[in-house]
Amino acid sequence: MIPAMFEYHRPADVKSAVSLLQEHGDEARVLAGGHSLIPMMKLRMAAVEHLVDIQDIEELRESKVSGDTVHIGAMVTQHELINNASLAKAAPLIREASLQIADPQVRYVGTIGGNVANGDPANDMPGLMQCLDATYALSGPSGERTVKAREFYESAFMTACEDDEILTSIAFPATTAGFAYEKQKRKIGDYATAAAAVLITMGGKTCTAASIAMTNLSDTPVWSEAAGAALVGTNCGDADIAAAVAAALNDTDPTEDSRGPVEFKRHVAGVIVRRAIERALSRA
């Protein structure tokens, strides 16, 4: 499988990358780790005339925890997310999810920026970012702007990122909430049949905050405000969890594909969301 011809660019900084995107418009694509884009190019499902490889842009590889905010550069790989101790402490949810993405070889090159910017509803990071209430920084010809992860996804592969913008970094509040990322997949390397990210904060016996997001159960990631609201103010008993699961499922819109019919996906989603809530609670 050999992709169609393209011109290869390797800019050294964000500014040059943005001007390449500006020059070539929708004929250009940004290449991060490439493990979503290159397979699509090999299948000739993605037509790319100009490939802008951003591997040399050092500033995109930085990550830090400053005060209560976690900053992660777009080119930080899943392998680094797993092995970075300060990130694992500030956001253990990220490490737990990263360990469940693809396989070791893919995690060495797969980046957080590529995963969130691609707009594939099957990618794990978008739901995770919605759960964490992350903010994306985008650089374009007229400078930098930010977009909330919860407002970034429009439909499958359609996002708020314009053709001449690059997603440069991600920021979200550090959290000590109980966490869990549960993922059902057919085999290692497969995308989720259903996955759920959950954060729960308990004040004594009462839930004071809850955030629940799901992966691959609609044409965008699904952050279910209603599911979180169903837990807040309760002691998260069995009936409360059942109400949260029902609310979460109500926000999904799965379609039939090789991973199963709609009814099956809803069933799996219910099991996965419940498991994620219970595990997050056990850590809250």
């Binding site: 050999i2 169609a4 490439g34 090999k42 490939l51 070889q105 290692i188």
Partner: protein
């Protein structure tokens, strides 16, 4: 579209060539540089037969453009031992029947090599998790895991003896 001038360091040797940007690293290695250790199995980044080491990372070279590897250091199975000899992992795979048809073996051993650099004394679970990107359709993994664990203890014993 013009060809690009690429420089790669493969198994310690500087290589220079002209390639189209769309050429995949696995194709350039096998067809231009005659380095045929990394195999083409699925060619869809699932099977891991094309695994090699690029700048200290295990990667599937069917999903990397040679242009991305410009300036990189690459190690394939050919670079793990002197020609005509075998390294500890290769010996362990032979001793413990870690291969049958051998097609997946270069990818398995190159990946295991990196895994043991990062986790010198892995548990069985760590080996299974660390090798999850490589598929074998013959041995059923049991002996592959056994070979890697045996190589790890041999390497650790040698390290201790040297200290």
């Amino acid at each position: 579209m013009s060809k690009m001038h690429l420089k790669l360091k493969v198994n310690g040797e500087e290589k220079e060539l002209l390639a189209e940007p769309r050429e995949l690293l696995i194709h350039v290695l096998r067809e231009r540089l005659d380095i045929t250790g990394p195999h083409i199995g699925c060619e869809t980044s699932h099977c891991g037969a094309c695994t090699l080491e690029m700048n200290g990372k295990s990667v599937k070279s069917c999903t990397v453009f040679a242009a991305q590897a410009n300036g990189a250091e690459i190690t394939t199975i050919e670079g793990l031992a002197e020609p005509g000899t075998m390294n500890v992992l290769q010996n362990a795979f032979r001793e413990h029947h870690g291969l049958q048809c051998g097609f997946c073996t270069p990818g398995m051993i190159t990946r295991a090599h990196r895994l043991l650099q990062e986790i010198p004394n892995p548990t069985e679970e760590e080996v299974r998790h660390g090798m999850a990107g490589n598929l074998c359709r013959c041995t059923g993994y049991q002996n592959i895991v056994k070979s890697i664990l045996a190589a790890a203890s041999e390497m650790n014993a040698a390290k201790e003896a040297a200290e």
